[in-house]
């Protein structure tokens, strides 16, 4: 244990190889760590392996990817940091948690990047490869020293690990082995089941020669042996054996599997981070379901193909992220005008423009609600857990078809790349889309036979005899005939709007987390649910009268939100998007730009909803939100 180790001090390496922390075995209800390396060194594989290993043992687990925006950025730079944050718990883990208590870093530059984003707790234990401090290139040593100087402000506890040297004893290319040695070190520290770890490794390399698996097993054992020999502490997080079968995956995989379960058989897309991995998953398995991933020539072509397939009676979706969403706007308008069912998944990232391609943000809410020119009532759903990502696909398909509308699903980079176990779904045949209706059309019915009370109508699908008509983006009457009369334009608008309101009546009122009344109500949406509710739990444990309300439907809003709000002294929307700091220069109560949910709730419900919105490019930490609650709670 030491302050930042400087390479220039004599015998640096020896001094820090054997470290006495004096911590011994400690037991926690949950613990967080990170593994970080240069891109291409496999820290992600190590971290994901550690996460799923823990889940298999019965721990709650949440892993979050740390992804560089480039594929192979220059090594040993903060921008090349690739890795995983892992939080494991005795019980279910719903979010990435607070700053981490332990990190394994393959070099000091990637570690520095984590220090700079305040990802490491003040007393974080840092296991770092010692080779860089004694590197033969003086420039590297100088970089080491500068990094250590910068990090010396914190009380980190340093442990030197001969990561590369030990790896080289087993494999020739350390870039292909350090990660498994690191996994071995983690297995010792967190007392993981080595046999499960070995099974996982064998599974991961099952398509490679046996020698690859053998070498990785050796590396794992070497890591465990080194840790057992050199470390004097272990962090024990007791596991609760699961009572039901679990599956573990990220949000994009859950969407993909949900699409399979919903019988969606076209996914039309154009490559964009962080949505693409969803299509990678489907492309791998779709042949077993008769489905097609269509990689279109552009974002517009992608939604066009999805809409064309859907128009023809097949169930289709398109997936995208911010910049792609912008390009799809005109087709969204057409889908809404022609009342053709469509499911659109928008995996949000930092914006505007290219923004932060790999980072989490919730900045597309208003664009999705209002982004296409003209009035465009639609359904917008935001899953708040990875499990919901799976189940929401069937819901979205059914809503789209029943209402003849576009259903937007708002995810984000946090759900897309976060990995957590959840209960294995029990499939039902009724979730699957049936074949398109090809029965002859009732001669007395019309293609937009709007029910004047509900706005609902039944569409005619090509192939249905007697249903011939032309759908159009022009205003049209019940026959789908182009019509410019003010009464018909008013009617068509009202019908498209009313069906959304009618659908809203079928939704349940959201139930607050915490208590039914109190001093402050935090309102959130999307992936922040786990963090917000954990912060509320901590606040209540401190005696604060705080609760939270999480909105799954953003359009239509669920009924009863106002009634809940009336029982709290203060309402605060918390979201990962930009809002002006009320104390910033030039900002007044009148010109302050608030977060997007806050604007929606203020406009829609006429409630005095406060706004806390930040754009850190990272999930919200419960501890930070606890401070937000504490500082916003009304004074008695």
């Amino acid at each position: 244990m030491s302050t930042s180790p400087s390479a220039s001090s004599e015998g640096a390496q020896e001094e820090y190889v054997k470290v006495i922390t004096g911590l011994g075995d400690q037991t926690f209800t949950d613990h967080s760590c990170e593994v970080v390396s240069d891109a291409g060194e496999g820290a992600q594989k190590c971290g994901q392996g550690f996460g799923s290993l823990s889940a298999k043992m019965g721990n709650g687990a949440w892993t979050v990817e740390i992804i560089p925006a480039e594929i192979e950025p220059p090594p040993r730079t903060p921008g090349s940091t690739s890795g995983v944050g892992i939080r494991i718990g005795q019980n279910k883990v719903t979010n990435a948690g607070d700053s981490v208590k332990l990190v394994i870093a393959f070099n000091e530059q990637v570690l520095l990047s984590r220090h700079r984003v305040n990802s490491l707790a003040d007393d974080c234990i840092i296991l770092i490869d010692s080779k860089w401090s004694v590197h033969k290139n003086p420039k590297v040593v100088a970089e080491w020293d500068a990094a250590m100087e910068e990090m010396s402000t914190k009380g980190y506890q340093w442990i030197m690990v001969p990561l590369e040297d030990e790896t080289l004893k087993i494999v020739e290319n350390p870039k292909r082995g350090k990660n498994m040695f690191a996994l071995g070190v983690l297995c010792h520290i967190y007392d993981r089941d080595v046999e499960i770890a070995k099974d996982q490794i064998a599974m991961a390399f099952r398509k490679k020669p046996q020698a690859v698996t053998d070498a990785n097993h050796q590396l794992l054992e070497a890591g465990i042996a080194w840790a057992a020999e050199n470390l004097d502490f272990r962090f024990l997080v007791p596991a609760t054996p699961p009572t039901s079968e679990l599956v573990v995956m990220n949000g994009n995989e859950a969407f993909g599997m949900g699409a399979l379960a919903a019988g969606i058989d076209v996914c039309a897309m154009y490559p964009i981070t962080p949505a693409s991995s969803l299509s990678h998953y489907l492309a791998e398995v779709y042949d077993n379901f008769g489905g097609v991933v269509h990689q279109a020539e552009d974002e517009i072509g992608a939604i066009g193909v999805a809409l064309g397939a859907s128009y023809a009676g097949k169930t289709a979706m398109t997936i995208t992220s911010g910049p792609g969403l912008a390009l799809k706007a005109e087709f969204i308008g057409l889908a809404l005008m022609a009342e053709i069912p469509l499911v659109v998944i928008n995996v949000q990232r930092g914006g505007p423009s290219t923004g932060l391609p790999t980072k989490v943000e919730q900045s597309d809410l208003l664009c999705v609600l209002y982004g296409q020119p003209g009035d465009g009532p639609k359904v917008v759903i935001a899953p708040s857990t990875i499990e919901e990502c799976f189940h929401i696909m069937t819901t979205a398909r059914q809503i789209a078809e029943t209402l003849r509308t576009t259903v937007f699903i708002l995810s984000d980079a946090n759900l897309a790349t976060g990995v957590t176990p959840f209960e294995r779904p029990k499939l039902e045949a009724s979730w699957m889309a049936g074949p398109p209706d090809q029965t002859p059309v009732d001669p007395d019915s019309r293609p937009y036979e709007w029910d004047l009370d509900t706005g609902l109508s039944k569409r005619f699908i090509p192939g249905q005899r007697g249903g011939e008509h032309t759908v159009t983006g022009l205003n049209h009457d019940e026959n789908s005939t182009v019509n410019y009369e003010p009464q018909k334009n008013e009617l068509a608008h009202a019908m498209r709007s009313r069906k959304i309101a009618v659908f809203g009546e079928t939704l349940n009122a959201p139930i607050p987390h915490g208590g039914d009344e109190g001093d402050i109500l935090i309102i959130g949406w999307g992936s922040t649910r786990g963090s917000i509710e954990e912060a509320v739990d901590r606040a209540r444990a401190k005696g604060l009268k705080a609760s939270s309300l999480h909105l799954t439907f953003l359009s239509p809003l669920q009924p009863g939100i106002s009634a809940v709000c009336e029982r709290f002294k203060k309402i605060l929307a918390v979201e990962i998007n930009y809002s002006d700091d009320p104390d910033a220069p030039h900002i007044t109560k009148d010109n302050r730009r608030r977060g997007q949910l806050a604007m929606l709730l203020r406009g829609q419900l006429l409630i005095d909803c406060g706004s806390w919105g930040k754009v850190p490019g990272a999930p919200l930490q419960p501890e930070l939100l606890l401070k937000v609650i504490e500082s916003n709670i009304p004074k008695a």
Partner: protein, 315 residues
């Protein structure tokens, strides 16, 4: 893909369709518009092929040409500007039982929709694409299009259009997987009909550029062509598009082997005459709808396969 659709369409259909059975509401184009001729010829084509109305889909973009589906009694999708091809691809890819036609104007296809055009040709989906080329933006009132002749006066380029026009046939022939490329004219309905019939027989994307009269904005461009039939060069070949009436009517004719891609490309440089007929045809290029046609699975099979997926992700 759901083959149950094919079973439904396989039911014996004793209906006989006349051209008028495909007639929709009265068209609202300007008097003298070439689109009237194309529409009438299309109805005759539908009759001659006995295409089942409910199994026939016309997809269009935006512009004068895009109103086309409204005036037919088939299924129609009047989409957005430049984006007819993706809609048609989505429909055809999953519904091989449908006869899908795409109707675009020159601005629609060669300007705002140029990306979809190039890739649409490359996908080689089994579609018939009609490019109604009147060399101008009509519905928005006389703006220069990519096929407007250079120096031609328009409302956006009143000093005369600045750029040489692109040649839609030349561009199409430059794209990988082009498999059927033809040129015809609205005022020679017999040739247009023969071209559409040949396209219907072709497996793949049939690209038909139709020179189209615009009586409002480009009357001088097309009238000159209509009035000087000797300007036309009819392309003949046993594998091409032949029509006895046309062969009798037009003086200038030449043999052109539509399997010869280089010769087809050379034809697009011809300045002395306007070649009409089949420039190029290749029956051996796979179609995207066939390439992407998956196996058929029952709901039970799909559910079993999802369980296998869950097993892969099981804790």
């Amino acid at each position: 893909m759901d083959t149950s659709l094919l079973d439904i369409s396989g039911a014996p259909d004793e209906r006989v369709f006349k051209a008028n059975d495909y007639k929709g509401p009265a068209a609202r184009w300007c008097p003298g518009c070439g689109d009237f001729s194309i529409l009438a010829t299309t109805r005759r084509f539908l009759e001659s092929e006995q295409l089942v109305p409910e199994k026939t889909l016309f997809v269009s973009g935006i512009g004068c040409s895009a109103r086309f589906p409204h005036y037919l009694k088939t299924y129609g999708f009047h989409g957005i500007h430049g984006r007819a091809l993706p809609l048609a691809l989505g429909a055809k890819m999953r519904r091989p039982d449908l006869n899908v036609f795409v109707v675009m104007g020159d601005g629609d296809c060669t300007s705002i929709g140029a990306g979809h055009w190039i890739h649409g040709v490359r996908y080689n989906t089994n579609l018939t694409v009609l490019l109604l080329d009147n060399n101008i933006y009509g519905l928005t009132k006389k703006q220069t299009s990519p096929t407007t002749p250079v120096k031609y006066v328009t409302n956006t380029q009143p000093q005369g259009s600045y750029l040489n026009p692109l040649h839609p046939i030349a561009v199409t022939l430059g794209v990988a997987n082009a498999s059927f490329v033809a040129q015809t004219a609205d005022w020679i309905p017999a040739h247009l009909l023969a071209t559409m019939k040949a396209a219907q027989k072709h497996k793949g994307l049939s690209f038909i550029r139709i020179l189209q009269r615009c009586p409002k904005w480009t009357v001088d461009i097309m009238d000159a062509k209509v009035k000087t039939p000797d300007e036309m060069m009819i392309l003949n070949h046993e594998n091409g598009i032949t029509d006895a009436k046309v062969q009798k009517m037009y003086k200038n004719q030449m043999e052109h082997d539509p399997s010869d891609l280089d010769a087809a490309r050379a034809l697009t440089d011809m300045t002395s005459h306007i070649p009409l007929g089949l420039f190029y045809k290749n029956e051996d290029i796979p179609t995207y709808d066939e390439l992407r046609r998956g196996k058929d699975f029952t709901t039970e099979e799909k559910m079993a396969n999802i369980e296998i997926e869950f097993d892969r992700f099981a804790v």
